[in-house]
Symmetry: C2
Subunit: 254 residues, 2 copies
């Protein structure tokens, strides 16, 4: 069999078999919009993000934190939740709102992907907005790479697969790799759609949802390649996302 670093893509969290991520570095992708939003929030000054699977769990967690030090945010079906401070639009997360706060976040698909990926030894959070910074981390990490796409309601999505493919292409150019078939599919997707990024996000399942809800600008925000140089990383006890590393070498080639 071929030798090289194992690079696997999972088009949905549930397609990664139990135990599969153990010992690896996992990359979580939910371009529209959870991982893009997490990156925006940390860049805007949130000290950490606490992902919650359920709405009630998020409310309880936020309710136990000091007022003024917490933002309760998230969505169901793309829409903001009643009684929450913010929705899941990356553009809502400004320095004025975020500085020094903990973000308690619950989303339909992204949170689930993040919690599934927690099985890995190291977990990074990726969007197009921090693409090159994630590439740098993966280049230097000796572990097998598992890229976990959130998808939408149990369906593989173009937008997440496209970013997975961009990461696969980078790794293939830098290293000897062994790909699974989904990594090849993702790479094909990036080859064909990478040069028309905004257009691809607009026609994607998630993009069409957002346009119907009036969030067209969130698509452009999600496609703003390398806007940020930080890589959010999962920390444990309690499970949370913080700025893991900062620094950038630009790798985007489309």
């Amino acid at each position: 069999m071929a030798e090289g670093k194992e690079v696997q893509v999972h088009l949905l969290p549930q397609l990664a078999a139990p135990g599969r991520l153990a010992g690896s570095v996992a990359v979580v992708i939910d371009v529209l919009r959870a991982t893009t939003t997490i990156i925006h929030a940390l860049a805007a000054g949130c000290s950490c993000v606490r992902p919650c699977a359920e709405v009630e769990e998020a409310k309880t967690l936020a309710g136990n934190m000091p007022a003024g030090k917490v933002i309760l945010a998230g969505e169901r079906g793309g829409k903001p939740l009643p009684g929450f401070d913010l929705g899941n639009s990356p553009r809502e997360f400004t320095p004025k709102t975020c500085a020094g706060t903990t973000l308690v976040l619950t989303t339909t698909n992204g949170t689930r992907a993040l919690l599934r990926a927690a099985e890995a030894e190291r977990v990074l959070i990726a969007g197009f907005v921090n693409y090159s910074a994630v590439c740098e981390q993966l280049r230097h990490d000796p572990r097998p790479v598992h890229i976990v796409c959130a998808g939408t309601e149990g369906q593989a999505t173009l937008e997440d697969t496209l970013l997975a493919g961009a990461l696969v292409e980078f790794l293939c150019e830098e290293l000897d790799v062994m790909l699974n078939d989904s990594a090849r599919l993702a790479w094909d997707c990036f080859e064909n759609h990478g040069r028309v990024l905004v257009g691809a996000l607009e026609i994607s399942h998630g993009g069409a949802n957002l346009r119907r809800l009036g969030y067209d600008d969130d698509i452009k925000a999600a496609a703003d390649v390398d806007k940020f140089a930080l890589v959010p990383e999962l920390r444990r006890n309690p499970l949370r996302v913080e700025v893991g590393s900062v620094g950038i070498v630009r790798h985007w080639q489309k």
Copy 2:
């Protein structure tokens, strides 16, 4: 929203939500090797194929048929089963063996995909070996199209996605269509790998398995585009696959 004929790809049977296929024409794909084998067997003269999910079920069904009129065949993990007449290699199904017999077939992934697709109103069986004949049927069928890939052990595979993409490309050129994101991924896959079909099947997950087991020639057999002009179709009461239609206009363009 865009208008047009709905064309959806499901990269694995379990990714088609329950009820999703109702009223549609479904196309089942397990290039390596169940659907390729079914096409070979019917072309070689089997009168019908009875798909069975379980080994014991297949044995019992075949045991209740007159000797000399039934072939018990299948695999687990790609290997022939003890006590079975044949494995799952398309090249085993010759006119001498097959003429006038019922084939009772149980395979790891393909049978499951076929049984899942039975929810659709009409179910066609596709391989590269009958690509253009399937295209012709889909072109004239007014129903929404759902292409169900078998995958391997719960993982999306390059070989099935590639054929799904070839069908998507044909339908996109012939008709106004609405694609789901997986159909776009499949199309991308075909765009990038369609011209190197045998090579793509060899590096695929299923292809690598077969090469390890010594079935290299089965890969070439599966890549023999338009060898046959027949389209197997699922019939009911009892559930079985028979020759549904015969006739070909060549559509392969790679």
